[in-house]
């Protein structure tokens, strides 16, 4: 099965020499444009959003990016199957990505083959497609198969239904088989959580049962929110006077927008909690959203503003540092 090389730099529109900060900025910018909630074409927007996420998953991680760069240098179009780049796995292990083809998970085969969770999954290490690897005869249960599924925060909030396809080569040289699964993503799903599709893994031998298929949840990165358990965090940019005097700010939430009262004297790094605006917990309640204050400073001041700052500097008794 040919695995097509993905140009993640092109996906994010950055140079190969881009700094981590460039990559982060490019991701945020594109993720805002193509986020399914704002994109004009919801379906196309979601596909693009997941593509951007996949690219950032690799390029935003220094270790994965290094591996990707090495892989790209050695990749020969047309050889496919992972043979054109680095060896499969770190050794002779077979990976699901190299013989199973997933659709609808939000990750490409290329990602699944080289950076997917199944890379280290035990299910992938049992020899070729469930064949006995211990020489103890031919009654052998099928191997478990694992793949990542990308889930947006909105899906984690409300739950969703996903159509996942799995194409597997036939064992006896006949037609490929493609299975289509309707998978319910429950509200409140966590990063790394596995969803089991019983008996849909590798075929068993000698009348033994088939293995299971496990989908491992990877939460898509959101341009505005980061996730910690059931809680969400977002940056709240404030002007210095807003931090000092307080302000009523409109901020985005996963549910829409809300109004937040920033109290007077809010220091940079302060976390303002918005109760119940996080992700669902298992018991049905919801985590919280924390707006983390960041004091922003104007890059330049106008001729009218400068005297005001100077006047403030001259009359203020505030000392941010201890005098040594």
């Amino acid at each position: 099965m040919a695995v097509k090389f993905k140009d993640y730099y092109e996906t994010l529109g950055v140079e190969r020499a881009a700094t981590p900060e460039d990559i982060k900025q490019a991701f945020r910018k594109l993720a805002r444009i193509h986020h399914p909630d704002v994109a004009k074409n919801k379906v196309a927007g979601e596909a693009k959003f997941k593509e951007i996420n996949e690219a950032y998953e690799v390029l935003g991680d220094p270790e994965k990016r290094k591996r990707y760069d090495e892989l790209g240098a050695n990749w020969q179009e047309g050889t496919g199957g992972g043979d054109g780049g680095m060896p499969r796995g770190q050794g002779s292990r077979t990976r699901p990505g190299s013989d199973f083809e997933f659709g609808g998970t939000g990750f490409s085969d290329f990602f699944e083959s080289f950076f997917g969770g199944s890379r280290d999954g035990y299910g992938s290490s049992g020899g070729s497609d469930g064949a006995p690897d211990d020489g103890r005869g031919f009654v052998h249960p099928g191997r478990d198969v694992e793949a990542d599924i990308m889930v947006t925060l909105e899906e984690a909030l409300r739950g969703s239904r996903r159509t996942v396809t799995l194409r597997r080569p036939s064992a006896d040289g006949g037609a490929d088989r493609t299975d289509t699964y309707q998978v319910r993503i429950p509200a409140g799903v966590r990063e790394g959580q596995r969803i089991r599709l019983a008996g849909q893994g590798g075929a068993g031998y000698g009348g033994a049962s088939a293995g299971d298929l496990y989908l491992r949840v990877r939460l898509a990165r959101h341009p505005d929110f980061s996730v910690k358990g059931p809680d969400l965090y977002s940056d709240l940019d404030l002007a210095p006077w807003e931090a000092v005097l307080g302000v009523q700010a409109r901020i985005p939430t996963l549910d829409g927008t809300t109004s937040l009262r920033v109290p007077a004297g809010t220091a940079g790094g302060s976390q303002l909690r918005l109760r119940g605006l996080g992700l669902p917990r298992e018991d049905g309640s919801r985590g919280d959203l924390y707006a983390v204050a960041r004091i922003q400073v104007p890059l330049s001041v106008s001729a009218a503003e400068r005297p005001l700052w100077e006047k403030l500097a001259a009359s203020s008794t505030f000392k941010p540092r201890k005098t040594p």
């Binding site: 935003g60 478990d144 299975d179 309707q182 799903v189 790394g192 969803i195 089991r196 849909q200 996730v227």
Partner: protein, 111 residues
């Protein structure tokens, strides 16, 4: 379970019934589905390597898909790699720690 079968040009396409996404298994069910003896399952529960779902005090443990995955993984190592029972908790814990750290690193790298 199979709803309908379509024959495409070169491949057989099967559509299957919906998968619930979150499951709960009793100890006996988890033991049967993983091929691990119920006493061993209890032993793993005591060691705390099957996740929080299996550790609610005072109530019969309930296993989710993650716990079942863990059990099947343990059984796979025992059966195919000859890992002995006392080493299994160690391996399981190392793998879980690695996964947890990876997830934490990932969330710290959030843009």
């Amino acid at each position: 379970m199979i709803n309908f079968v379509i024959l495409e040009k070169h491949s057989l396409v099967l559509t299957r019934a919906e998968y619930p996404g979150r499951s709960a298994y009793s100890l006996e069910e988890a033991a049967e589905l993983s091929g691990v003896h119920p006493d061993m399952v209890r032993y793993y529960v005591r060691l705390g390597i099957l996740g929080e779902g299996s550790l609610r005090p005072g109530v019969e443990p309930i296993f989710d898909d993650d716990a079942l995955y863990e059990l099947r993984r343990i059984e796979h190592y025992r059966r195919n790699y000859g890992v002995n029972r006392s080493a299994l908790p160690l391996i399981s814990r190392l793998l879980r720690d690695a996964a947890r750290l990876e997830a934490e690193l990932r969330s710290r790298r959030e843009p």
